[in-house]
């Protein structure tokens, strides 16, 4: 089959999206749902079908020219290579499961056509990012993803703060896109092309200083999309959207787009050590920040949101440490168990009568169907990094990479990584205990969970638990298949002496145990005070929102006011009005001169006559004197 069929992978969801949006409402609900799920399912099948196209250099498919003017020539081109294939499979696979789940979750919502349309459009945009051959098509997907998350977060638009959350998400990601845009423009002016492979090939020719700045720009762009430190405020509020949205966008796919961008541009950014340290530093700080915030969150989905932010921080650390395979490994496993956790959270919310606050839930273990507890536990175990689970191996690989990195400062990042791992374990089990253990606190009457919501959870649980097989370290007899699969793009091959690895694995196990015990002691045994100043501080995400509001929104509003009222109203219009009033005033002056009395006019004649007479005499005298 020719490679242009590759375009079917992203275009199928697009087609379904368009169909849903235009005719969704008019057609029966079942039709809309089936087209949505079928679209994504077939693209998953196609990815598997085309799997061997991605071996080695991968295949490049071109649809047609998009923009061509002067030296710029950008085409709609896809590159299906070793890095893109697993990512595409993950995106389409998880998306299919989430679509199925969404059919159940959104059962009673009337506006299903718009929902499924936007969801499919999102999958299309995400696939364009993953499969993009040149940066402009990637940018197209990049903004498309931002738009869909805006639409989906603000899906229940009747509540204004949902819309506000959507706008906030779109704005913050767009700020990130600015840096990505500038990097894009700079790269084009440096290398004369936008295709990723050529840029990476010419990366060596760019001067080091410029590479550092470019890396920072790309980092900031990635931070915008992956909710890392400077631009992270939008992720927590993004939970206003329906749970399948949170599961798909804010767990599995969109937040990892930033990591994917860095992996794609790895040959370029790996040239600057400063850039790599910056990436690791941002990753570490965000991981720590998010983990601390997750400790104090009251809503189940916000806990998971902050945990996602923290895990993506780990992926940034992995890229910073040089292992693209480590980052991708964690990205894939994280996608599985985090999507699982979000969906399970959706079921929990349903069970607790649409109650989000975990302090108002409890004792669900008894009332919920048994497998929900096991499924949730499976996800939690992966997240916490309990040994032998997928999460454990991927996180451990990253910590190993950090530890074995040449630069001593990475030992500091390793330490931050360990602390964050501890906190992660603590808040995960805190979540489990508060939701499932203890006596029921909430008063909401439980909804029954439809079949579609329960069924997709199982495959994800399995994938999460068995995720380790993807890139099992040599120590444990694994073949590090992902690392070899990525080949050239895999980055640094992390090797360490056996006892060092055993030491680190031991440390990881201890961390998880300590975390579990602390959570058990804190929420099962000790009934201490709940609310202190620090918890409120952490609850507000270190009051980041207020900081942003103070530092950026208020001055922006002031400048906008100044520009409109200050400049336009008073300065420009002011000068015009002054000119106009001056004209009227001088007109008035002349008006007063015409008194209407005959004598003043005659006097004017006389003065005029006198003047003429005087002038005549002057000339006469002049000429008289002349000869």
């Amino acid at each position: 089959m020719s490679e242009t069929l590759l375009f079917l992978i992203p275009l199928l969801p697009l087609a379904c999206a368009v169909v849903n949006m235009l005719f969704g409402m008019r057609l029966p609900r079942l039709f809309a749902e089936t087209t949505a799920v079928a679209g994504v399912a077939t693209s998953t099948a196609l990815t598997l079908l085309f799997w061997d196209y991605s071996v080695g250099e991968g295949t490049r498919a071109v649809l047609g020219t998009w923009l061509s003017s002067g030296s710029l020539d950008v085409a709609f081109a896809l590159r299906f290579d070793a890095l893109a294939a697993p990512m595409t499979l993950m995106v389409t696979g998880v998306a299919t499961l989430i679509h199925l789940y969404a059919v159940g979750y959104m059962h009673e919502d009337q506006d299903y056509a718009r929902f499924f349309g936007l969801l499919n459009l999102f999958v299309f945009a995400m696939l364009t990012i993953v499969l993009a051959d040149n940066l402009l098509v990637l940018f197209l997907g990049w903004e498309g993803v931002g738009l869909c998350s805006y639409g989906l977060i603000g899906f229940w638009y009747s509540k204004l703060d949902n819309a506000k959350a959507g706008t906030k998400a779109f704005m913050v990601t767009r700020v990130g896109d600015v840096f990505f845009g500038i990097a894009l423009l700079w790269l084009f002016s440096l290398t004369g092309t936008l295709s990723i492979s050529e840029i990476n090939a010419q990366a060596a020719s760019i001067s080091p200083g410029v590479v550092i700045v470019l890396t920072l720009l790309l980092l900031l762009g990635a931070c915008g999309k992956s909710a890392q430190l400077p631009l992270m405020t939008w992720l927590a509020d993004a939970m206003a959207g329906p749970t399948p949205v949170s599961a798909l966008i804010h767990a599995a796919t969109m937040v990892t787009a930033g990591v994917y961008l860095l992996c794609r541009m790895f040959p370029l950014i790996s040239l600057s050590a400063v850039g790599m340290t910056a990436i690791t530093a941002i990753g570490a700080l965000t991981a720590l920040y998010a983990a601390t915030c997750a400790l104090a969150q009251r809503e189940i989905k916000r806990v998971l949101a902050y945990s996602t932010m923290s895990q993506v921080g780990y992926m940034f650390m992995a890229v910073g440490a040089g292992t693209v395979s480590g980052a991708m490994f964690h990205l894939l496993t994280h996608a599985f168990f985090k999507a699982l956790l979000f969906m399970a959270a959706g079921c929990v919310i349903h069970l607790a009568g649409n109650e989000n606050d975990i302090f108002k839930m409890g004792g669900l273990a008894r009332r919920s169907p048994p497998e929900l507890l096991w499924v949730f536990l499976a996800g939690a175990v992966c997240l916490a990094g309990v040994p032998l689970t997928g999460g454990f191996f991927s996180k451990d690989g990253i910590l190993l990479a950090l530890f074995t990195h040449g630069d001593p400062v990475y030992k500091l990042f390793w330490l931050v990584g360990v602390i964050t791992a501890l906190l992660t374990a603590f808040y995960t089990f805190r979540l489990v205990y508060l939701v499932f253990a203890g006596e029921p606190r909430g008063h909401g009457h439980p909804h029954t969970i439809p079949m579609q919501m329960r069924w997709p959870l199982w495959p994800l649980a399995l994938l999460g638990l068995a995720g380790g097989l993807l890139n099992l370290p040599v120590l444990v007899g694994g073949g590090e298949r992902l690392h070899h699969w990525l080949g050239g793009q895999a980055g640094r091959h992390v090797t360490a002496s056996h006892n060092l690895e055993w030491l680190l694995i031991g440390l990881a196990i201890v961390i998880v145990a300590v975390g579990w015990a602390a959570a058990h002691w804190r929420y099962r045994v000790f009934r201490g005070a709940r609310d202190t100043k620090t918890t409120r501080f952490l609850l507000d995400g270190w009051r980041a929102d207020q900081l942003v509001d103070l530092m950026i929104l208020r001055p922006f509003n002031a400048i906008a006011g100044f520009c409109w009222i200050g400049c336009d109203r008073t300065l420009f219009d002011g000068t015009l009005n002054v000119l106009a009033s001056q004209a009227r005033a001088s007109g008035n002056l002349l008006r007063r001169m015409t008194t209407g009395r005959l004598s003043s006019y005659l006097a004017a004649f006389a003065w005029g006559f006198l003047l003429i007479l005087g002038w005549v005499l002057m000339t006469l005298v002049g000429r008289g004197g002349g000869h």
Partner: protein
């Protein structure tokens, strides 16, 4: 020429100035018109002086035309004064200031 031309012109200009002051100073419309008449006659005097000085008859023809025009001017002016007197009840020039700006 019985008198040097400059003297005639001097006398004409004196007369003209008198007429001018009369027009400027007086309040009554009638007196203003009389002032105008004086000025016109000053012009006539100058014309006749010139005609005598240059031995030309044109000057005198002009005076006749001048008189004709003055006659028509006075006719209309006085009709207007008559009209204003009845319409406005007064012929003091300053009363008619409706045309002010």
């Amino acid at each position: 020429m019985i008198v040097p031309f400059e003297h005639v012109l001097a006398m004409a200009s004196a007369l003209f100035v008198l007429g001018l002051t009369c027009t400027l100073v007086r309040r009554q419309l009638i007196m203003i018109l009389i002032g105008v008449e004086i000025m016109l006659n000053a012009a006539a005097l100058a014309l006749v002086g010139a005609s005598a000085f240059w031995q030309q008859v044109d000057g005198q023809v002009f005076v006749v035309l001048l008189m004709a025009i003055t006659a028509s001017e006075v006719a209309v002016a006085l009709a207007m004064v008559f009209y204003l007197r009845h319409r406005k009840g007064t012929i003091v020039a300053d009363q008619f200031n409706r045309m002010h700006g």
